[in-house]
């Protein structure tokens, strides 16, 4: 595939040895072990989930996902996620812009802190938000056990996605196009809308897709701050958790499949859109 450039000399090797057969055997063994590992960890468990969710037939599946509590939980998750990804798209792009185009003291530190929600355990994210925006809040904002807390927690854990997908694109973006437009008299907003944003759209969309998938399945950060009140603050993942605790595995499996499908559909369609959008630019 790649042009064959020989770069010898840099490699110091022992005396020639020939037993290729042994190496091939080891390769096959490695592949076999890898297959077992992936089967045990991912393939079989997913198959078991699909089998469980469909064990009672379509009518049973439908009954499980149309129970009022399940419907409320799925609706809350999808609505909160939709709001959160829109906010992420706006503020994520804004933050990426500031990190690339602006300069201020402490920028390096701020830039590395943006990854904190990825490094912080989700349960700690919940505790951290409660410490400031919970009961006895020093700023007088108490969102604990309200629907706003669902959005707040999801915003926290998905913060880096859009920033980190837009940042490299913005860094590569050719400034001369913007300068040319500005010198022709385009106002800053026009430059932004006609020149900068079109090149960023694919990156924003892929960040949004990742945020969506993460937010739909988020659990740890919601457990403490939302209070898990059915019909009010109980998100889909929390509902699944409750059903597992009640040993109602068919219901848990059915709602799991719904959330999984939602995540996969959004990931798939946004990656399609993002590829299409990137074809129209340049």
């Amino acid at each position: 595939m790649s042009p064959l450039q020989n770069s010898p000399g840099s490699v110091a090797l022992g005396p020639r040895r020939a037993p290729r057969v042994g190496a091939r055997g080891a390769g096959a063994l490695g592949k076999g072990l890898l297959g077992i590992y992936l089967s045990a960890l991912v393939l079989l468990p997913i198959a078991a989930l699909l089998a469980k969710s469909s064990s009672g037939g379509t009518s049973a599946f439908w009954r499980e996902i149309s129970s009022p509590e399940a419907v409320a939980a799925i609706k809350l998750t999808l609505a909160a996620t939709a709001i959160v990804v829109v906010i992420n798209a706006v503020f994520g792009t804004l933050i990426a812009w500031v990190m690339v185009r602006d300069d201020f003291p402490g920028k390096r530190i701020v830039n590395s802190l943006i990854d904190l929600p990825f490094a912080l355990p989700t349960i700690v994210a919940g505790v951290v938000l409660l410490a400031l925006y919970g009961k006895g809040s020093p700023v007088g904002v108490n969102v604990a056990f309200t629907r706003a807390s669902v959005g707040l927690a999801l915003l926290f854990v998905t913060l880096p996605f859009v920033v980190r997908s837009v940042q490299p694109v913005l860094l590569e973006l050719d400034l001369s196009m913007e300068e040319a437009a500005a010198s022709l008299g385009a106002r800053p907003l026009i430059v932004l809308r006609r020149i900068v944003l079109p090149s960023l759209v694919p990156a924003i969309l892929s960040g949004v897709a990742l945020s969506f998938a993460r937010a739909v399945g988020e659990f740890g950060s919601l457990v403490l701050i939302t209070g898990n009140l059915p019909f009010k603050t109980e998100a889909g993942s929390v509902y699944i958790f409750g059903q597992i605790q009640n040993e109602n595995l068919p219901a848990a499996a059915a709602v799991s499949v719904v959330l999984l499908l939602a995540a996969l559909v959004v990931l798939g369609s946004l990656s399609f859109l993002s590829r299409r959008a990137s074809r129209h630019v340049l």
Binding site: P8, V11, P45, S112, G217, G220, V223, L260
Partner: protein, 302 residues
């Protein structure tokens, strides 16, 4: 800040491609000032958002932990269940991370260098843990290894308990942190190319020698970066582990589970202290990631 807002509206009917000339009234100095004001506005919005959502809450948890002095923090840290949870977390990391490192490198090699039927499927399979809720990961493991699961009878017959004990927690941790090493190693492997490997081979190196002396040194920073991410995720995993652990105090309680337990049992100091320990580990992870970006070109340098 909003000085340019009104002007933008008037432009919309203009034919595309033709950009309106600059406002006649604005001198160069006024334009500069407007640009600076805009920049400041965007900076304030972005940094304000980060401060409110990220920085202030994280600082607050440190304040809350130490607001009553060091004595309660010390007794919270040395509480037997806290110590046990900490060591259990480390034990799980010590098993799951090496497993995922070895298999992650294997998967990366297979996906980048291999040619076989079902390669796309393998790629999808590896990424799947990122698209699945941790709760669902826990559920799928219960459905396979639980007492009513596929292998439940067989495992019980052989006296092996997976769910509600440490093996299940290790498996759950391995699943949620599965993709990192493979995903961080693959781009490095692609960039490395096969030239030196082929050279080594023509010089008579065995596949094993080529891997240890050529491939692995070439991809080591990608692997290390993946290991850091894997470790951070493994230490902090909550949802999947919560389901398969049974959450038995002093037995199957990891540090994140302990945080929840303390919080729900009205012991805020215990919860905050354990959370701060985990937050410090997260900050150490960030530091490691930062230092590693000097060796890899994966992240955007600022």
């Amino acid at each position: 800040m909003s000085s340019s807002g009104g002007g933008a509206m008037a432009v919309s009917p203009a034919p595309s491609g033709r950009l309106r000339a600059g406002s006649p009234a604005g001198s160069a100095g006024a334009g500069d000032r407007a640009a600076r004001a805009r920049k400041l506005g965007v900076r304030t919005a972005a940094l304000g958002y980060l401060a409110l959502l990220l920085l202030a809450p994280v600082l607050m948890i440190f304040y809350r932990t130490f607001e009553h002095g060091l004595a309660p923090v010390w007794s919270a840290i040395t509480a037997p269940n806290a110590v046990h949870a900490f060591w259990l977390s480390l034990e799980i990391v010590a098993i799951a991370v090496p497993l995922n490192t070895v298999f992650g490198i294997g998967m990366a090699l297979l996906l980048e260098r291999g040619r076989f039927w079902g390669k796309g499927l393998l790629g999808l399979l590896i990424d799947l843990p990122f698209a699945i809720s941790p709760v669902v990961v826990g559920l799928t493991l219960v459905l396979v290894y639980g007492k009513t699961g596929w292998f439940g009878n067989w495992l019980a017959g052989h006296g092996i308990q997976v769910i509600f004990s440490v093996p299940g927690m290790v498996i759950a941790t391995a699943v949620v942190s599965l993709p990192f090493v493979a995903r961080e190693t693959m781009p490095v492997l692609r960039e490395l190319g096969t030239d030196s490997e082929q050279a080594a081979e023509t010089l008579g190196a065995s596949a094993w020698q080529t891997f240890w002396r050529v491939t692995l040194p070439g991809i080591r920073w990608g692997v290390v970066y993946g290991v850091v991410l894997t470790t951070a995720r493994a230490l902090g995993e909550f949802g999947a582990v919560s389901i398969v652990s049974g959450r038995i105090e002093g037995q199957t309680q990891t540090l994140p589970l302990y945080v929840q337990d303390r919080f729900e049992n009205f012991d805020p100091t215990g919860a905050y202290t354990a959370a701060v320990v985990l937050a410090l580990l997260a900050l150490a992870t960030l530091l490691a990631m930062n230092m590693l970006t000097r060796h890899t070109r994966r992240r955007t340098p600022v």
